[in-house]
Subunit: 130 residues, 2 copies
């Protein structure tokens, strides 16, 4: 398989796949002409990466997960720990965004949004953090 096909099937840009090879997440073989030759296993790994990245795992976590995926004698507890920590991270991010949303939502709500210069958003932003 050439990079175009594998990109299509894994749902990743070719550029990203080359980058993943660069940072050694995958090590595809090469054809005589210098083209990358992807195996079914490579495709599977890339699909895995595509999914994991879409779920917000960092590249380094992806690397760890991929290593576990390849290790037939892994303990599922190791996987669960990484995923669980990431879940907590996501929860923290959601909470942060919620709190931003609440604060900003208030400011926007209180702003007349007309032609006059008075604006509670600007006033609110000028005050030290509460």
């Amino acid at each position: 398989m050439n990079i175009g096909e594998v990109a299509e099937r894994a749902g990743l840009p070719a550029k990203t796949i080359r980058y993943y090879e660069d940072i050694k997440l995958i090590r595809p073989a090469r054809d005589g002409n210098g083209y990358r030759a992807f195996s079914e296993t490579d495709l599977h790994k890339l699909t895995f990466l595509s999914r994991a990245r879409a779920l917000g795992f960092t590249i380094e976590n992806c690397r760890a997960l991929l290593a576990l995926w390849e290790d037939q004698s892994r303990a599922s507890s190791d996987v669960k720990r990484i995923a669980g920590e990431h879940l907590d991270e996501i929860d923290r991010k959601i909470a942060d965004l919620q709190s931003m949303r609440d604060t900003l939502g208030e400011l926007v709500r209180d702003c007349a949004g007309d032609g006059r210069p008075d604006c509670p958003i600007l006033t609110g932003l000028g005050k030290p953090r509460s």
Copy 2:
């Protein structure tokens, strides 16, 4: 005011303040010794930036907001539009994270997390995006 004091009072690292000068968000005066000399207005701007960044506005949005803040003849509708768009952006991010959370939460829930290698998280990540 030197950078240390203003950093303390605005709640920003000195490094960040130097960076903000670099990208021309602020233009503090200089003392004879080469030290930056911050005015009360500079402090106010930095407090503004600190708050706006904490609410997730991009630097470029901060620049626009700061310009409006300085423009006595602004229309509050301009401010409200920027803030409203950012609010939508935050909502989109929250929705994305929620959907990640849901998917990942299911996988984690279904994983035994013991010493055995079988792991629905790894299996789930290997499948194409649903």
